[in-house]
Symmetry: C2
Subunit: 311 residues, 2 copies
């Protein structure tokens, strides 16, 4: 049997997985992310954990195809990051350094959102497809794009930053990135909560959302309960996201758009709100693009990272 | 010396080129496109022209690396088209059929706009880059996207249809594709002429454009002459195109955006009108994306088609 490792680096923990190259998860574990001293221990810790697992399982080094690693930052085509928000790293040649720590073993590195999309393509909601978009609706809106089975990395590793498509030119509030009207301002968990607060402040309509924290979860719970104000909020969210996906599809022509992240835990109820405006604005060649919920949850990162080794 | 052929199929003529694989154009010629009888002669004519050229130049078949071909229709990853607007073809397995006609020689096929982008990357305005976007401003707005040196083809061959990004949700006139507010309605030659007619009809301001045909060329000629109304039209065009390119760059993260097609013959005067709104709306990772005019003109197609063989 041939093996590969998938590593998903987060600000608090590093998720790790051992896979057979035919896609079976053989082991999963986590180690802490030591971000102190500019994160100098992170890659050595990862290398040590891989070596230890290899010994434990008595895996021969010639049976290991390599190690894939996902990083929460833009990663260029050479596996280099320029800076990170929460790992302590400035410039780091991730691929080359980890490869050296592992005695020359093959290493591939990618941005975590792109890597998650690879995971959903390999073992999740996009299985069997080679052209997929993954939108992650969390605190922000992340994106990963896979074209013909390969991550869309871009010139500086910033491909697929779907959350910063401009969907509203006249927005007055500023996005975290400094621009105005980014998709993230309407379709992230934070964005949905903002839409809810605004709509409830604008009138006195009865709603079970009043008195709640008006989180994205509260909104979709209220949608499920048939609350008409919540339904209007979901429709507003869906128009922003669905029309943005129509514009994205014109460029990428994906077979599947996978929706993941915390907001997607609302479940299937969410999809029609996005699909309807998408169909209304989709270019004819994209009328058949499917919308599906992500399947792998927190495992998308380790799966996709392992998949990098098979490209 | 090793050779490859580049073929650019149009509705009236087929442009053909013989290249050395290091990028020298050794010969260029054209043959008519015979679209009658569902275009049944097109591929045989191309194969015959290649065989004839090979004999004329006494090229050994083992020195030919292959033939690339660009088609004015979506072409999927297998080199298949489903229908064409102006060749007479319905479903056609272009790659397989031409390969059979050429005795098994390697053939690669692509959409003409994507292929032109490959050409500009190889021998034109994007030389040295691997991530480029090409926007062709002609009767419509065409687009070709190259990611990491490969065409963005998409699930059904409809990747890179930049002209049908929605840039104005409240547009009342209908685009040729049936949607409303497509980039093509404002940034094509036809679109610029429409902006001009509307602006001149809306007021009585003096302009040297009055009495002209108000073509895109008239508009940019008037811009060069300092005509203030023409400058307003160019600014309006530039906002639509520049902001659309900012949204596109968020997804694709290109090093260079190449502007080609008839409208680009206006020359360098055009670029600042697009760049300024781009910079205003660009995500920080794309602030350095360069705008350049296409260099290859009508040869982009044959160059890019030949380049397909070297991927």
């Amino acid at each position: 049997m041939k093996y590969c490792f998938g590593v998903d680096v987060g600000g608090t923990t590093v998720k790790m997985g051992l896979f057979s190259i035919d896609g079976n998860v053989l082991d999963k574990w986590e180690i802490p992310t030591h971000t102190e001293n500019e994160g100098e221990a992170i890659l050595p810790d990862i290398a040590a954990a891989i070596m230890k697992k290899t010994e434990e399982r008595k895996i021969l080094s010639e049976d290991i195809e390599g190690v894939g690693i996902g990083i929460p930052a833009p990663v260029d085509g050479e596996g280099v990051v320029q800076s990170t928000a929460n790992l302590g790293w400035g410039y780091k040649a991730v691929k080359a350094e980890l490869q050296a720590l592992l005695g020359g073993m093959r290493v591939e590195a990618g941005n975590d959102a792109n890597v998650a999309a690879m995971g959903e393509m390999w073992l999740g909601a996009g299985m069997g497809e080679k052209n997929i978009v993954m939108v992650t609706l969390g605190t922000g809106v992340g994106g990963g794009i896979v074209i013909d089975g390969r991550m869309l990395v871009g010139a500086t590793g910033a491909g697929g930053e779907i959350g910063h498509m401009c969907v509203r030119r006249d927005e007055e509030e500023t996005c975290g990135c400094g621009l105005h009207g980014c998709l993230e301002q309407y379709a992230s968990a934070t964005g949905i909560a903002r839409l809810a607060r605004k709509r409830l402040a604008a009138n006195e309509d009865k709603s079970i959302l009043r008195g709640t924290g008006m989180s994205a979860k509260d909104v979709f719970d209220a949608v499920k309960a048939g609350d008409s104000v919540a339904i209007q909020i979901a429709e507003e969210f869906g128009v922003y996201l669905g029309e943005a996906m129509a514009n994205l599809a014109v460029i990428v022509n994906p077979a599947v758009i996978v929706i993941g992240g915390g907001v997607s835990k609302a479940g299937e109820v969410l999809l029609p709100y996005v699909e309807k405006p998408f169909r209304g604005k989709a270019f004819f060649a994209n009328k058949d693009t499917r919308f599906v919920l992500a399947k792998l949850g927190n495992d998308a990162g380790i799966c996709g990272a392992a998949r990098l080794i098979l490209s």
